[in-house]
């Protein structure tokens, strides 16, 4: 799990002074960041919107105690982490109901007039999302926080109330599972392509 890309991709985290929590102001200042954090994982505007609203409604319902909030240096990063965790739950939930929802990769295939490189990227992104959805929840959370939010191990440990060592082990397991899943996907795609070309 030492690959450099794990630390390279993170949205901008805004350094801000600690202050009492004002949910309206947080929503105004960071609502867009929260939306994007959810959208990256879900690739679905409506669901990202749901997650965005859930993040702030939760804060409204269950405000973080002032002393705890004051210790949070980067509210945007904190909110993004909340969004990422909720989006992971949504992604996994959606996978469970996949029999009742259209196949998204099939949907991608149906998109018209995309340059091959763009389409290839979209398919790769969607495959990774699907692979993440198949991970156990904790692994999916650790992976997403690490690669999409650029969180340090200690930060992830803090967010998930587990030890940094557990985060490290969980990330390794997540990577192993993702390698397996994506390799299997690649093999089956290659086999399918071979069959198609054989028919032709």
């Amino acid at each position: 799990m030492q690959s450099s890309f794990l630390t390279e991709h993170s949205p901008p985290h805004f350094k801000e002074g600690a202050r009492a929590m004002d949910v309206n102001k947080l929503a105004r200042d960071h609502g867009r960041v929260v939306f994007l954090a959810a959208f990256r994982i879900l690739n679905d505007h409506a669901r990202a919107e749901d997650v965005q609203q859930s993040v702030f409604l939760r804060l409204l319902e269950r405000p973080i105690p002032n002393h705890r909030w004051a210790s949070i240096e980067e509210p945007a990063a904190y909110l993004s982490v909340m969004a990422t965790r909720l989006a992971i739950d949504e992604l996994r939930r959606r996978r469970r109901w996949r029999f009742f929802t259209p196949d998204e990769e099939a949907g991608l295939a149906g998109e018209v007039e995309q340059p091959p490189a763009v389409r290839e990227q979209a398919v790769a992104a969607q495959r990774l999302r699907q692979a993440i959805a198949r991970l156990p929840r904790r692994q999916a959370q650790c992976f997403a926080l690490r690669v999409f939010e650029g969180s340090e191990l200690a930060e992830i440990a803090d967010h998930l109330s587990i030890s940094a060592n557990t985060v490290s082990v969980t990330l390794n397991r997540a990577m192993q599972s993702l390698r397996k899943t994506l390799c299997a996907d690649a093999l089956s795609s290659a086999a399918a392509a071979e069959r198609t070309s054989g028919k032709e």
Partner: protein, 284 residues
């Protein structure tokens, strides 16, 4: 995926898989949402928050006070259990009552000036199952033995069933969603653990429910409390002064909690059964 005994091949396929993952991550990170969609989402978010806050305004004082009262009763044993907080033999005996009861019932009455603004009954048994009834408004039942938390809103006739354990998901690949909730219903424990209290025995004695009572003054959680107990250390009453302000004006809010220990309690008190006619919302 088949395994290969050749380490070079294994390494190269792992590297290829890592490159695949890296490319996919980059693809995801490069995804851009439509700006007008983000703006629309932002507008809806602010509207939704505004509506939610308007809806909450009517109920906030009630819930704030209810929470304060419930916290107070939950805080109390921790304050008393705290090493060094005791002040004499009677206090150690008080501690004993809170740690060894088979059942505890507490009646909470919160007043603002002369006006009663909240009445609640709390039931706790030796397994830490707890039930809180706030008049005809809501009921909370916490059952740690079954990891369940049931909330009933009697006015809306709604029930929410929530798992208690917020982090029970293992990496076994289980499909359990029991940790789908980030908000731990027992988060108050964090708060409680930060409290530090000192108990000072008062010179004054009072007659409470036919008992001569000794008072102990406590400061915990920014609140002044007075605990009255019998000479045998049985807690009788806790009086809490809650600092509540309406703007700049301090309000005279006081919560009185009367304790009753080791009464026989019907098992139905802690039943997690949703009453007929209630809409059930499972949060799993």
């Amino acid at each position: 995926m088949t395994t290969n005994s050749n380490p070079k091949i294994n390494n190269s396929s792992a590297e290829a898989a890592d490159r695949d993952i890296e490319n996919s991550v980059q693809a995801i990170m490069s995804v851009r949402a439509d700006a007008s969609t983000i703006d629309a989402a932002q507008r809806k978010l602010l509207l939704r928050l505004d509506k939610a806050q308007t809806a909450r305004r009517d109920t906030r004082p009630f819930w704030a006070l209810a929470t304060a009262a419930v916290l107070a009763i939950l805080i109390l044993p921790m304050v008393i259990w705290m090493p060094g907080s005791g002040n004499g033999v009677a206090f150690a005996q008080v501690q004993n009552f809170f740690s060894t009861f088979s059942t505890m019932r507490a009646q909470l009455t919160t007043t603002m000036g002369e006006q009663v603004i909240l009445d609640m009954d709390v039931f706790v048994d030796g397994s830490d199952r707890a039930r809180i009834d706030a008049e005809d408004q809501f009921t909370l039942i916490v059952d740690p033995t079954r990891d369940e938390f049931l909330q009933l809103n009697h006015m809306l006739r709604q029930a929410w069933s929530t798992p208690l354990d917020g982090d029970s998901d293992s990496d076994s690949g289980s499909m359990s969603e029991s940790d789908a909730i980030d908000d731990d219903p027992l988060a108050w424990l964090d708060e409680i653990r930060q409290f530090e209290g000192e108990a000072d025995r008062l010179d004054e004695r009072r007659l409470i429910r036919d008992h001569q009572a000794t008072g102990f003054a406590l400061e915990a959680g920014g609140q002044s409390m007075t605990l009255w107990s019998t000479d045998e250390g049985q807690p009788l009453r806790l009086v809490i002064e809650t600092p509540v302000h309406e703007g700049e004006r301090p309000l005279d809010v006081q919560t009185r909690i009367d304790f009753y220990f080791d009464e026989v309690m019907d098992e139905a008190i802690f039943a997690l059964t949703v009453p007929e006619g209630y809409q059930v919302n499972n949060i799993h």
